[in-house]
């Protein structure tokens, strides 16, 4: 099936997210606007206005009631999905690079940027799932990243840990109740920023992408690197597909960073790797600039990518995608 092109943003996309049913896609861009789209036909459902700067991040709660956003205007905001009503604004000293709900939607974390005089932090708020309720201004937790700033973070299964990826390529595991740093380990090349961290559906493992051109799957409990996917381009995003054991990686060198003219221009492709065998199995072209984010439909029926070119491309997987099996997978299925 041909991809659906969502053209409503005027500037680069920074993050795209499906809701838990997979019928809605939320997108944020440097153009300050949050958009909601029907994933099956690409029709725009609505926009959320209020942010005064580039948006870096978006997440939707598991019941598709509340939407969280964060951006360069140093605010993290909470919206009612259905009405577009702004429910809460939390103000900070620096931009918000990442927001993410816990799996029960009762907690929301934000990652704040590091700037002169301000260390990067991870903040947590208790969330009342009722859109009519007053939301708290009190942080239930504040983690200060004094070693290397966090670039991405999220809650583990049952919100036992907060896992963060850092600017120095390391991954940290914090106690999500006390904020205590339990463990920090280099996962990617030193000083190669971790650009994305996405969970497996049950949050017992996650995938990170990095400017070091690789993506890795780590175990949530041990932070052990279980899988490595090596590419030839800096990566901005990595996602795990349910149903099929694949991962989708997105990235690409921005035009201004490409120094060699002989190099195949850009390499703006979504790359599919087999999750378990770590072998590349295919690429999908389309964007005219780096892929800044890839998100997978929660039922594994498709994916979408947000590009530096200002477009969201929504793909529905065809039958051959589901039929494809390695010989050893077929053996296993027939056991």
């Amino acid at each position: 099936m041909r991809p659906i092109l969502l053209s409503g943003h005027e500037r680069a996309l920074t993050q795209v997210k499906y809701n838990s049913d997979g019928d809605i896609i939320f997108s944020v861009s440097k153009d300050h606007v949050v958009c909601a789209w029907f994933s099956h036909n690409g029709e725009r459902l609505g926009t959320y206005h209020g942010h005064q700067g580039a948006l870096w991040t978006v997440d939707v709660d598991p019941t598709s009631t509340l939407l969280a956003t964060g951006g360069a205007d140093n605010t993290m905001r909470l919206w009612e999905v259905k009405t577009g009503k702004l429910l809460k604004t939390w103000d900070f000293e620096t931009s918000i690079k990442r927001v993410e709900f816990s799996s029960d939607g009762r907690q929301l974390l934000g990652v704040t940027e590091k700037r002169s005089g301000h260390l990067g932090t991870i903040v947590v708020y208790e969330i009342n799932p009722d859109p009519e309720a007053e939301q708290t201004s009190e942080q239930s937790l504040r983690i200060v990243c004094d070693e290397s700033k966090a670039t991405v973070a999220g809650f583990s299964y049952m919100a036992i840990y907060i896992i963060a990826g850092h600017g120095d390529g390391s991954v940290s595991q914090y106690d999500a109740k006390t904020g205590e740093l339990l463990y920090n380990t280099p996962v990617h090349e030193p000083d190669m920023q971790i650009t994305d961290l996405q969970w497996a559906p049950d949050r017992t493992y996650f995938i990170t992408s990095s400017k070091d051109k690789s993506a890795k799957i780590c175990a949530t409990d041990s932070l052990e690197v279980l899988k490595t996917y090596q590419t030839d381009t800096p990566l901005n995003s990595a996602a795990i597909t349910p149903v099929k054991d694949y991962v989708i990686l997105g990235g690409g060198q921005a035009a201004m960073d490409v120094t060699t003219t002989s190099a195949r221009q850009g390499k703006f492709e979504a790359r599919f790797y087999h999750k378990i065998f770590m072998e590349e199995i295919g690429r999908v072209r389309g964007h005219f600039g780096p892929l800044n984010y890839v998100a997978v439909h929660p039922k594994g029926t498709g994916y979408c990518s947000g590009g530096e070119d200002g477009y969201v491309r929504v793909h529905h997987f065809d039958k051959p995608y589901f039929d494809f099996m390695y010989e050893v997978e077929r053996e296993q299925a027939n056991l």
């Binding site: 598991p62 017992t204 279980l226 050893v328």
Partner: protein, 61 residues
């Protein structure tokens, strides 16, 4: 002889994949058991919250 070499190489690749698949399946089984022990309902349901349809029913007038 080349053909024999190729076959050996192929067999090694397949063996390696079989091993990786078995390892992965075993690890996943451990993780699922761990989640069951912890009573992680949402996680065991693939991250989706089960809606309670019995009990309260919302009435639209």
């Amino acid at each position: 002889q080349d053909l024999a070499k190729k076959n050996t190489a192929n067999r090694q690749v397949v063996e390696q994949r079989r091993r990786l698949l078995e390892e992965w399946i075993a690890w996943r089984k451990n993780m699922i058991e761990m989640l069951e022990d912890e009573g992680a309902e949402i996680e065991l349901n693939g991250g989706v919250i089960k809606m309670e349809h019995d009990g309260e029913v919302e009435e639209v007038e």
